[in-house]
């Protein structure tokens, strides 16, 4: 799996913009330098030609090359083709008056006059030209840096000004919760894209709210309406149970009808509860000090456990807190303890432990016959006792998932352990 770092859109665009400008500067810099070279070459060449013409004309008239002062000239043995000429070299020559070395271009060229070939070497000071060239190159870097700075500043300004409505819309989207019928304030913006984003978001919210309401009504009606027929079935069954003649013959049938009706009714309630939890209807979240609540709970079931020849031990700290709706905490605790009672053996006590960060519920028991990941799935039950709904742990997991809590399972030293901790 690759993990990409994420950047703001504007940061990205300005980065690419800078990259583009860097390339542009580079290309145009090269172009300018080439142009400067071309210009220098052309200018010096023009000058050399002029001098050559001048010398040729002089030689044709005067015939004596020694009269040419300041010019390095040599008579060659024969005319013909000298493939190595003309030859150009750049050299540094010390100028006494200025006390500095200046670049000169030297052209060694063969000229012909009066059917004789001479090698002449011409010199031109091109110091100013090369200065110009290095000036061009030297300007480009600071220009680029200044431009980059301007772009960065401009980007910051843009994200503050142009993108502000966008971030405000984002924060509204972030704050939106399904089924809350929130009044989402409208963000004023003149940017078409943001207007569209906002329009789509508001439309989507309305649609979600409608769907949510329908679904909620459906589940509520379902949960409510199913209980009435179940109550009737149960009442009628109880009436049958009171009929001794009938019971003598049909005790098994009636018993099963009665038990299954109860099971169905519990299932309906549990699923309804799960739906309500998933809809986030229990959101009176507060910081709960768990110690007293756990003790109260343990107290209430202590007698029940004694009847099952089991024991429960607690090791609770005053500091342990959990951020949760109290009703959900009750359900969470109940389901974990129920699980411990159901699958616990009497080899050792059920233990509830809290420390600064964790709530641990553990019970002794045999190893799981299946993979540990499956235990949080719905309708998953490792022993198929009829009374088990197979919803307890998945209910606990949903509560944790929806409230930034972790629930973990481990098996150690013959004990099943469930850990509840804050998501960090």
């Amino acid at each position: 799996m690759f993990k990409f770092r994420s950047f703001r859109l504007l940061t990205k665009t300005s980065f690419f913009y800078l990259l583009f400008i860097l390339v542009t500067f580079f290309i145009s810099g090269r172009y300018l330098i080439n142009k400067a070279d071309e210009y220098i070459n052309e200018e010096t060449e023009r000058f050399f030609r002029f001098r050559e013409q001048h010398i040729i004309r002089f030689l044709e008239k005067e015939k004596d090359p020694s009269r040419l002062k300041y010019i390095d000239i040599a008579l060659l043995d024969s005319t013909g083709i000298y493939p190595n000429y003309p030859r150009y070299t750049d050299t540094l020559i010390y100028i006494e008056e200025l006390d500095e070395q200046q670049i000169h271009r030297k052209k060694s060229v063969i000229i012909e006059a009066n059917e004789k070939a001479y090698l002449i070497q011409l010199l031109i000071n091109i110091n100013d030209f090369t200065k110009l060239k290095s000036d061009v190159a030297g300007r480009i870097v600071p220009a680029f840096i200044i431009l980059a700075l301007v772009i960065v500043l401009f980007t910051t300004f843009l994200s503050g000004f142009l993108f502000q409505p966008f971030y405000r819309i984002l924060s509204h989207i972030n704050r939106y919760k399904v089924g809350k019928r929130m009044n989402i304030p409208k963000v004023k913006t003149s940017s078409k894209e943001f207007q569209k984003l906002q329009f789509l978001f508001r439309n989507m919210v309305n649609r979600i709210e409608d769907d949510y309401r329908n679904l909620k009504e459906y589940t509520e009606n379902m949960a409510h309406e199913i209980q009435t027929p179940l109550t009737i079935i149960r009442n009628k069954t109880e009436r049958l149970i009171a009929d001794e003649e009938l019971m003598k013959k049909n005790v098994d049938t009636v018993k099963i009808i009665y038990e299954e009706t109860n099971h169905l009714s519990k299932l309906g309630n549990a699923l309804n509860l799960l739906t309500k939890i998933e809809n986030g209807e229990y959101n009176n979240t507060e910081v709960i000090n768990t110690k007293d609540l756990i003790l109260k709970h343990v107290d209430a079931i202590d007698e029940l456990l004694q009847l099952k020849l089991m024991t429960i031990e607690t090791d609770l700290t005053d500091d342990h807190q959990i951020i949760l709706d109290p009703f959900l905490f009750d359900i969470l605790l109940k389901n974990l303890i129920r699980n411990a009672i159901r699958y616990g053996s009497n080899h050792g006590p059920i233990k509830i432990t809290t420390n600064q960060n964790q709530l641990i519920v553990s019970n002794y028991g045999d190893t799981l016959s299946v993979s540990p990941e499956k235990i949080f799935e719905r309708f998953y039950s490792s022993n198929s006792t009829k009374q088990s709904l197979g919803l307890g742990l998945s209910l606990a997991k949903r509560i944790c998932d929806l409230n930034q809590l972790n629930i973990d399972y481990d098996y150690k030293d013959g004990q099943h352990l469930f850990f509840i901790s804050d998501k960090k």
Partner: protein, 225 residues
Amino acid sequence: MKLLIVEDNFQLADDLSRFLIEQGFIVEISATLESARGKVELYDYELIILDIGLPDGSGLDIIKLLKKRKSDTGILIVTAKNAIEDKVKGLELGADDYITKPFHKAELNARIRSIIRRKKFNGSNTILVNKIEIDLNSMAVKVDNKELDLTRKEYDLLLYFIYNKNRVLTKESIAEHLWGDHIDQADNFDFIYNHIKNLRRKLQQAGADNHIRSVYGMGYKFYEL
């Protein structure tokens, strides 16, 4: 004693009314909020069994009406399970108790009797069944004037039996009555037997007859002799 059942499901209302008539109450039924309102305006009832979810409105309106008229009618609200808001609102408005669907009739009976008893502070508050005498105010049980040493659960169990004497009480119903919501923690109800055994022993040791018998392994029955 006159009761009003406000319940839109005919089967359920019929079933309940038959059961309550057997228990010696006079029972009337309203299937809608409108008819219930009419009945409450005209007659006085000892107690109203009120379903909150009615086809033409919320049963909570009836509680408001009764409270406005300063009526001392007992109110037992019936809600779907998990509908905590209804429950809380109902009790805030002044309902005496609540019961969640699906409920056991024996449980309903016990709740009704307990509300009615609570409303009547004056006069004796004792129940006498054969040799067993229960003082509801002091929660004391006597057999032949000898006070029994019962635990809270055993007392609740005995009272539940006596409110529902001569009827079969299923193990589920007894367990739910004694443990309330915590009964979810148990995966079977056989442990009820231990409570029954202890109660039976204590009653018999004090000289009472054996009133409680098992019925087909499904439940128990308290026989008035």
